[in-house]
Symmetry: C2
Subunit: 253 residues, 2 copies
Amino acid sequence: MGHIHASKKCQGCALFADSKLFCAQLNGAELDALSQKSRTLSMKRGDSLEHEALAHWPLIAIDSGVLSMQHLLQDGRKTIAALFMRGDIVDLRNVSNRNRGALIALGKVDVCRLSPKVFEDVMARNPDAQRVIWENLRDQAFRAMDHSGDIAKKQALEKLASFIFECRNRQVGYKDGDLVEIPVRRVDLAEYLGMQPETVSRCFKDLEKRGIIEAPSLKMLRLLNVPMLRRIANGDKDAPIREGKMKVLKFAG
Amino acid sequence: MGHIHASKKCQGCALFADSKLFCAQLNGAELDALSQKSRTLSMKRGDSLEHEALAHWPLIAIDSGVLSMQHLLQDGRKTIAALFMRGDIVDLRNVSNRNRGALIALGKVDVCRLSPKVFEDVMARNPDAQRVIWENLRDQAFRAMDHSGDIAKKQALEKLASFIFECRNRQVGYKDGDLVEIPVRRVDLAEYLGMQPETVSRCFKDLEKRGIIEAPSLKMLRLLNVPMLRRIANGDKDAPIREGKMKVLKFAG
DNA sequence: TAACTTTATTGATCGAGATCAAGCCAAGAC
DNA sequence: GTCTTGGCTTGATCTCGATCAATAAAGTTA
């Protein structure tokens, strides 16, 4: 690897360490410049990036953890419109704060506020970096569209199944293993999927009862029947006869 | 205007004619090259761009009309995950057909399949073009996220109100006028918002009864009370006491 | 380890919107 | 003109998931 000049603070960062991510595309000089002009930040659950700060640092690169974009309705209802994770770069340059959600950490999150100036320079000169960043934004866009489609018409169980696959697709490695990490809390999951925590809980139980998943802990799942889970996620009405949904006949008298 | 070399077929196209859009950023040579290697296509309602075609022409620029990205569930339920309109450029390069929705026209749509080769060249050399295209993709991403937020927790009336504003924001000119064009049919609108056509109909009626909008035709609205509409869109629970929701007491005997 | 706080689960009830089934109306066909 | 067709609307009923309330489990602190 040629990044001998890699500034010290970048050494442990996923964006540099993972060859597919942004900072790994930079040459020594570029990385030095970016590193020097950028600012890392460690957030804990509930911390949010405020408009004030975002105005000066509108480019957020996620090293680790889960950052959410939340929309708040007037009467207190909240929704999580998007989840950003390791490798994602959130670009809020020239984005009016109007109508834009707040960026709130869902746990410990390490981010790097990139210098817009250096970022632009790199974008103009380094085609590899440009490609990586472009594909990341495109992923964000398509992921959001997929997600819209999911929550629009699917029912609770189907949404949850889709979410499990989304987690599996996004986690590092283990893509085809049967272990899936759920990196967010039940409440957050509910807000992301547009349902209530109670419903989330019931749906997990449902999948367990039917032997499709196993939940060793709150944050970890083992998939026992991937094809069936897929069918449910795809809205196959034959499969998901909900447990306990058969009407019990009542005998009169 | 300097675009004297503008190839004939581009003259009437919004992407060239509107100075904020992609093709207007190109110089004569670039436009010529792009024009020559690209293919226009006129679609009518129901036409879809198939994977076969998209493999060779993965870059779709919308000149006019509304193109939808639809997700189809196994049992026939459909959802519209995104709407693409004038100026949008859909980039499906290297996107696996797996899990990606179909691109289907919701009416007469004029598109231009851009040559990936020339597009890449332009992206690499022309910073203005790069900026425009980047901002367009970012808009698509944020729009999709906003939309996710909308359909996740809002109720029917609120979703519709949000959609009216989305239409207003996206239509050319008239941004602050009180006339809003609804460029899609009721059915499509329902699929986009994740509700039933019947519910859409009832909600329009509701807004009319309450004097918030007026509907001279199916495709055109006049906003009579923008602040109230905004409050509803923002989920203000004080405002939207649904018409006809007061329980009528029934007198026994 | 116990005391305490926060988060998740379970159970019971209720309601917004889905669903089903007609009815309506405008545009084009015959 | 009448007939047809497709989209929209209206009304009646039913259901899934929201909501409320209580309990259990997990995480945190002393």
